[in-house]
Symmetry: C2
Subunit: 127 residues, 2 copies
């Protein structure tokens, strides 16, 4: 088992975010550092959560959405009903991602067309 731990500044450096941001995420219930006296000690799990949050941000997810994602990745509640709810949520999220994939493809094509247009204009002009 990897029992790595991290200080707040180690994580802020690694992910290029401020300590304020990390404390904010803790306040929001997204991270659960232990304490050594007053100081926060972050676990590998916290670090993974951070990665999930930041990747979510890059895809336009709110912290609330990332919170739900994190729940899906390690379900606490073990009863069948709740687990099936999770399965549905995963399915829904995958559909959203598929839509995003589609949007990205369209946008990439449009950007290619725009680049072509501009290139032609450049080649035809002299100034």
């Amino acid at each position: 088992m990897t029992a790595n731990t991290y200080s707040i500044s180690e994580l802020s450096t690694e992910f290029d975010i401020t300590t304020r941001t990390i404390r904010f995420y803790e306040d929001e219930g997204l991270l659960f550092p232990q304490r050594d006296g007053m100081k926060r000690i972050f676990s590998e799990k916290d670090r993974v959560h951070l990665m999930l949050i930041l990747r979510g941000k890059r895809l336009g997810f709110s912290l609330q959405e990332s919170r739900e994602l994190i729940e899906l990745y390690d379900p606490k509640s073990g009863n069948k009903k709740q687990l099936n709810v999770f399965l549905k949520k995963i399915h829904t999220k995958k559909q959203e991602l598929a839509k995003q994939l589609n949007d990205i493809n369209i946008m990439q094509n449009e950007l290619d067309l725009a680049a072509e247009k501009i290139t032609k204009i450049i080649n035809k002009s002299t100034n």
Copy 2:
């Protein structure tokens, strides 16, 4: 040439957004409706801009980013230097999109793994 025009409510209905949102986008310089007396008359071009903005939103773009995207799609400035700047911006944006594609793929795989895990737990349990 398609000279379709649209009222504010037509667009708000079509895209399922409020009129407030549309007026806000105009204030922000993203839409340029003509006027019939006081009333706004939106062109096909405005409609396209709206589509771009909303697709951008789905991908987590800010309005500022969408504004830049729109500029790239129809460049006003015609001098060579400026056009080359646009080409670079397009390239940069495409790289960002490629990164998003990657993030989405990773997330999809992780969701698949999470679903597998949950499914196994469900099958092993009775309640």
